[in-house]
């Protein structure tokens, strides 16, 4: 397991992805699962920065670990409460011009990982857990 904190800035997206990737590789997760997890992590972190902190300074704590046959990434922030699991998925049976705006990043998160869990953190803020079968 590895945990690190990052300033919530878009310039840190690549740094956070690299942290998640290198930790997952050291845990010997399979690369296809890592690739999917990175897409989800990036979307989640981008949402935290752009919509959560919305230009205000803050930090994002990322924890990467293995639990059984799953790779788990936990993201914690101190932005205003936002539960992405309550965002309704887009109806993909509708042609794009009829779909409601918003929710693209959350849709991608749901697609790339097996489980998404949200909690309000005990110390305040948000805690998002992404789970992907990877071993």
């Amino acid at each position: 397991m590895s945990t690190a904190s990052f300033a919530a800035e878009l310039e840190n997206l690549a740094v956070i992805r690299r942290f998640a990737e290198e930790t997952a590789q050291s845990l010997q997760a399979n690369q296809a699962a890592i690739d999917d997890m990175l897409q989800a992590v990036d979307e989640a972190v981008t949402n935290i920065i752009v919509h959560g902190y919305a230009g205000r300074p803050g930090t994002i704590e990322a924890q990467v670990k293995r639990a059984g046959d799953s790779l788990i990434v936990r993201l914690r922030d101190q932005a205003p409460r936002f539960d992405p699991t309550t965002v309704r998925p887009p109806d993909l049976t509708l042609p794009l011009e009829k779909r409601r705006p918003g929710g693209l990043g959350v849709h991608l998160i749901r697609h790339f990982v097996d489980q998404v869990h949200y909690h309000t953190a005990p110390q305040g803020g948000n805690e998002l857990t992404l789970v992907k079968k990877a071993f």
């Binding site: 997206l13 981008t46 920065i49 794009l96 779909r99 705006p101 918003g102 693209l104 849709h107």
Partner: protein, 135 residues
Amino acid sequence: MNVSASQAQGRVPVTILSIQGDLDGSNYQDLIAKAQELYQAGTRRLILDMTDLRFMSSSGIVALHSIALLMRGDQPPDPAQGWAAFHAVARDSAELQQHVKLLNPQPRVDRALEVAGLKTFFEIHTDLATAVASF
């Protein structure tokens, strides 16, 4: 992310914009700005060479759409609208293919295109000569 432009001549002049590195929320607007420069310099047919693009998030997907609109002389929508940007993609899908085509997206990027539903809206090639000749 680095971008570099080159020219090719098929039935019409074609600009090839090679994108190297990662395309995410920190730099997608730079790519749009580069495409804008090319348009102002006379480019109307563009191949986005994704051979060396390692990662693309939903921000990159919105950039692709914005570039397609730019190349036909339209103002791209506000990228912050997310799905609303894709509504315009769906409306304009046939014409988009006349202006911007994708070359050689790597598996990770190809998957992001697929999940976002964009593979039906952009013609994708794996060979540069074929891509140039397709305009």
